[in-house]
């Protein structure tokens, strides 16, 4: 029965201490958390760590969820913020080349071995700024509407549209480079 219950109802129940509801909620969203984490970081290991940390924190964090907000929107925001944190820490450790960045480096080393499409993806993601990558992860990866992505990122729909236009411009530029 719980399986068909909306997220928001489960979250409310979990907040009031209902174990089963919380369990269903986590189970329902783990893959989503992991997927977005991967698309934000470009690293499977980072994504698993992030997902694990987020799940571990969720019982307490849930208290900050407001019932008026859509649960998934809120959850996406939690993931994005967690990824930002990770990114910042990696930068602090001068390891900014992790994830998508590493991918790009690896690609240059083993260009022949890697599947061409993946190469292109890594290269493209590595060249986008973090903001654009976040936006891409939500709009293209999670297939959110621009309005939804805007709500997650705390920016306007217009900004999302503008960012996506930027992404497109940059992809075109990359394509042009490759053509030459």
């Amino acid at each position: 029965m719980l399986m068909n219950t909306p997220d928001e109802t489960l979250a409310e129940a979990a907040l009031s201490g209902d174990r089963a509801s919380f369990s269903v909620l986590i189970g329902r969203h783990y893959d989503r958390i992991f997927g977005l984490a991967f698309r934000l970081t470009g690293s499977r290991a980072d994504a698993e760590d992030l997902a694990q940390d987020i799940c571990a924190a969720l019982p307490v964090k849930l208290r900050h969820w407001r019932a008026e907000a859509r649960f998934t929107t809120w959850l996406y925001r939690v993931v994005v913020n967690a990824a930002h944190d990770l990114r910042r820490r990696q930068a602090t450790r001068a390891r900014a080349a992790d994830g998508w960045g590493d991918w790009e480096i690896a690609r240059q080393h083993h260009m022949a071995e890697e599947a061409e499409a993946l190469d292109w993806l890594g290269a493209a993601m590595a060249r986008l700024t973090p903001e654009l990558r976040d936006t891409v992860a939500l709009v293209l990866g999670e297939e959110l509407t621009q309005a939804e992505a805007g709500r997650v990122l705390g920016i306007s729909e217009g900004t999302v549209a503008w960012r996506m236009a930027q992404v497109k411009r940059q992809l075109k530029a990359i394509a042009a480079e490759e053509a030459t």
Binding site: I26, F34, L58, V60, A69, L121, A137, L153
Partner: protein
Amino acid sequence: MTDELDDLKAALHRATPVADDKARARAMAQAMKNFDRLQGSAEEMRSKADPPVQAGFLAGVFSMLNSLKSRPLLAATTSAAALIAGFVVFLPIAGQLPVAPSKPAAPGVAREAAPADAEARKTVDETAAPKPAPAPAAPEAKVAEPQEADTTVAPQAELALPDVRGRVANGGALGLSADSAAPAITGNMTVYLEAEPAPPPVANTEAYANSPVNPVHVTAEDPVSTFSIDVDTASYAVVRSSLMAGMLPDADSVRVEEMVNYFPYNYPAPEAGQAFRPTVTVMQTPWNKETRLVHIGIQGAMPAATRPPLNLVFLIDTSGSMEDANKLPLLKQSLALMLPQLHPEDQVAIVAYAGSAGLVLPPTAASDKTAILAALDNLDAGGSTAGAEGIALAYQVAEGMKAKGEVSRVLLATDGDFNVGIDDPADLSKMIEKQRETGTYLSVLGFGRGNLDDATMQALAQNGNGTASYIDTLNEARKVLVDQLTGALYPIADNVKIQVEWNPATVAEYRLIGYETRALNREDFNNDKVDAGDIGAGTQVTAIYEITPPGSPALLNDPLRYGAAPATGDSKELGFLRLRSVKPGETQSTILETPIAPETAAPSPDALFAVAIAGFGQKLRGAKYLGDWGWDQMIALATSAKGEDAFGYRAEAVNLMRLAESLSAR
């Protein structure tokens, strides 16, 4: 959608791996465990230590959510700026420490969702490794508490044309101190516009001021060593907070002299009428049989029982990044601890800065504790940092409080986040320098980790004739603001410079241990225009040289084939120590000179302990000159020299050494 975006979308979906079942199971189990624990007793949850940079992520999530409440409109107001942003650096928010029960907030300042907030502070999950987190870019949609301060970047949205290059807010180190750390972009918003994709700049939100380790000098070539004293202690506290979190500190965060000067020593007191007294001890180097150490301990005089009244202006950073329990709340507790130490005739004022600066408490007699505590309690973190404006206001307030015979000091409490609103950080230092000349001092109290701009703090304190302390625990607050209050706030000698001229006949090589960031040119010694550190009442400053006699097997430099003939003076003296200082309120410096005799009294436990700490600091910085001197010997030396250690500072240092030993063995 277009071709390029479709391609990217398809590639992204292909690339995303399927979640691993084991990882999922692990995460879910952890979540359920924490859920169950939370249902049990929130009070049982263990709190978390001060987070260093490399630590975990979880703590951040809590604080992230907390900060959402106080900075809800940040992203909304800056979203247009973000639109053009090439890169945004997020503020790290450190984990929540349990807050000692504090007074209930005054009506009207209780933030929305305060109950949940308070609860979260108590219920930090124990499985989480302590880690800092970013302030969110996203507002929590439902909670709105407008922060005008946050709108400062928004107008730039007007410039959102791809080809317009916008403001570059580089909040790196002030560039005043010799800084070997990577230039840091700190702060909550670094916005730049570029039409073409630029590689994301590397963000480093902890910036340390340090210089390469002092080299060995050949006395015949370079007999004079000149430096400014350094009474800061911030480095030791930073080192401690790293070690306590289970990590060796960043080598650049270690300033050996600050570690040595952290500890109170009991050097011989100056004679009546003298501001301070140097004591020189020559001893065997523990880490090198062939060299000797020259330990110079300077003891400042205790002021007469009646010290002049103090005018204190607290300049408090209430920016969003200060919200963590180990920042603003700790600061409030610290200042509350300090109040009873003040005399009734002292005056206190509070200025807050966060976007727009404000006078929170007009000059108030220190005896009016109720008013001061109420003003402290009303401080609330939120908004971005505009250090310059706040400092200007603080100095203005301090100016108004000034009276003859009184000492004025601005106490800047911050996590070192200074870049919003300052286009030219050098201006800030210039202003502080100018104020120093009018007799208002500046001390910097650093709070929190993860965002600590040590380099800026150092630069500000050094320019303001003040001290920089790093406060990570209430204990440290007590040491800095209670036990050492007089020394910290009441200077007895300004611009103290040390110059040692070594005798080439008895000393072939020498090196100064630490003080890398305080080196002065030889000619600066006699130039009173060149600023140097100050000694507070009753405090001690220690400097240690390692010297090598001629002919010693420990010499590192071969003699020059075409150099001058080796000096052959008759003097048995090792060198000549000159100390220059300015009496507070005066402009002319006076000099104090004393020869360094080859034989001195046996080293006191204080001197030995200082040497052990100097060894500790060098080891943490990467022990170039320590040979095979090991942790065990260092610990034995420190333990043997612990002395009375009334407050346990030295015992704590020995524990840190042991901790560092284990960590470095990993």
